[in-house]
């Protein structure tokens, strides 16, 4: 799987509307990553994966409602913290209790955090 970089949508790339009459009927966005913004900024708790406890079952990847976990059968799951909202679903569903939710202000040492 490609390690995707944060897609920085620049303001000038986005359509801007001076007049309401130029708007379409409804707002839709095309399928770009992060169309809702950097939702990782909303997070209070961050999921921290202890890969040594992980059996690579992929449950966290399946259950994450935001699609922010990347999964590789060899190396296991990896959270994209730019978009992870910190909901804790992955930690709840992990059958090996390999994911803990840590307060953002807590200093954590994460051997698998590379973002």
């Amino acid at each position: 799987m490609n390690k995707s970089k944060k897609q920085d949508l620049k303001k000038e790339d986005l359509p801007s509307f001076e007049d309401y009459r130029d708007l379409p009927h409804i707002p839709v966005s095309i399928g770009v990553k992060g169309s809702m913004g950097n939702t990782g900024e909303w997070r209070t708790f961050r999921p921290v994966i202890n890969l040594s406890a992980c059996n690579k079952c992929g449950f966290c990847y399946i259950y994450c409602p935001e699609g922010t976990i990347k999964f590789d059968k060899e190396t296991g799951p990896m959270v994209d913290y730019i978009y992870c909202k910190g909901c804790g679903v992955c930690a709840r569903e992990c059958p090996k209790d390999a994911i803990t939710m840590r307060r953002e202000t807590e200093q954590v040492c994460e051997n698998d955090e590379d973002d």
Partner: protein, 413 residues
């Protein structure tokens, strides 16, 4: 009954609704039973079962899912139909807004009934009028034929790229849903010639296509265009007035039945007193008008066909007549705590400001929860209006005049 030729069937109002969905070739119907709408879905289910109607008939577990199903299906560009009543409509309220806010041309018929508690399943428009501000076009059908015809016209209206808004068609629970009348069902070909198929590539503003994924229903921050999108819906629903008239004129030319416009007036030309109402009682009141006319009283009536968009200009045109001395606006619904107690009579304040101040204005409420409103009752309302205008009070009446509103046949000792 074949699809090849026109036939007149003796059917119930609900069957007329089901026939409307069949002749419109609705692709997706989502269904959940609720009295008095249930036989609409039962009839469609029989059509589908016998292979006479090709559609995805989806049984779901609640009305919320009925309307949620309409959202998903319509986004693919399918023609979508459903029906509900009373509590069912209230339960789907959230998704009702998702349909209009997504600008999806869904058509839904409402067999209107009283709202519980206490339970009541008979005609009362408080259910549909609670959706007053949902962004749907709201129409009342006063005859069985009009129920069927309105479905064809509503798809034409809703799918017009200038509109792209859903339509509710309301009619009376039991009084219309379960009574039988002759209804002319045109051949499938005649309907196809009037109502073209939906565009192959989906609606102009939105289509679900796995090849080109989109995100819909995004969050708009306060300084983004949320307010502009809301204003656009308001502007569109008002702008639909001439398009509604086009659709009606087109239908008249094709099928020979004339639905006049957003309102229909009866013997109003030289009328001194006019009664305004909605639904089947707006048809029945023509008999009361004829009787009173034969007694020399110059009366007329107006039936409001479209409540959203509100036909202000059409009403002002007729009610601005210099002959007019009094207006009574009668609701078959209750708007608790509103200025008058009725939905339509409350909205009339906006029209009264454009009419001479010498006019006598009488708001009234009748027939809640299916209570009978006879032609005699309707005559009594006219007489109360004339009384109020001439004597400045209402005397010797079976109705109750309380805080400026006339409550027809309200039981008081």
């Amino acid at each position: 009954m074949t699809d090849e030729k026109q036939e007149t069937l003796i059917i119930t109002g609900n069957e007329a609704s089901a026939w409307g969905a069949r002749r419109s070739k609705a692709h997706v119907v989502t269904a959940f039973p609720i009295t008095p709408q249930t036989t609409v879905m039962e009839t469609i289910s029989e059509f589908v079962d016998s292979g006479k109607m090709q559609c995805n008939f989806v049984k779901v577990e609640s009305e919320h899912s009925v309307m949620a199903g309409m959202v998903g299906a319509s986004m693919t560009g399918a023609r979508c139909f459903t029906a509900t009543s009373g509590q069912g409509l209230l339960y789907m309220a959230e998704m009702v807004h998702w349909v209009s806010g997504s600008r999806l041309p869904v058509v839904t018929t409402i067999a209107s009934r009283g709202i519980a508690p206490p339970w009541n399943i008979w005609v009362d428009y408080s259910d549909i009028l609670s959706m007053r501000d949902s962004g749907w076009i709201i129409q009342f059908a006063s005859t069985h034929q009009e129920i069927f015809d309105s479905i064809l016209m509503s798809y034409k209206l809703a799918e017009d790229p200038r509109v792209m808004l859903p339509v509710f068609i309301a009619y009376g629970g039991f009084s219309q849903s379960h009574t039988s009348k002759p209804v002319v069902i045109p051949s499938q070909k005649a309907v196809d010639d009037y109502l073209p198929p939906v565009p192959d590539d989906g609606w102009p503003h939105l289509v679900l296509n796995p090849e080109k994924p989109i995100v819909h229903g995004n969050l708009l921050m306060p300084q983004q265009e949320y307010m502009e999108f809301r204003y656009k819906m308001h502007e569109t629903i008002h702008g639909a007035k001439p398009i509604i008239k086009e659709v009606i004129a087109d239908f008249h030319e094709k099928f020979g039945r004339n639905y006049h416009g957003l309102i229909e007036s009866y013997r109003c030309d030289d009328a001194k007193y006019i009664l305004v109402t909605v639904g089947a009682l707006g048809e029945q009141v023509k008999d009361a008008v004829d009787t009173l006319r034969s007694e020399g009283k110059k009366v007329g009536s107006i039936k409001i066909r479209y409540f959203r968009p509100f036909p202000k200009e059409d009403l002002v045109e007729i009610l601005g007549s210099k002959n007019l001395e009094g207006i009574v606006v009668v609701d078959r619904s209750i708007a608790y705590g509103s200025p008058t107690g009725g939905h339509i009579s409350s909205e009339f304040s906006n029209i009264l400001s454009e009419l001479p101040s010498s006019l006598t204005y009488l708001p009234a409420v009748w027939g809640l929860g299916g209570r009978d409103v006879t032609v005699g009752d309707q005559e009594s309302v006219f007489n109360d209006l004339i009384n109020l205008h001439e004597e400045n009070e209402i005397k010797e009446t079976s109705n109750s005049y309380i805080n400026g509103t006339l409550w027809v046949n309200l039981k008081v000792r």
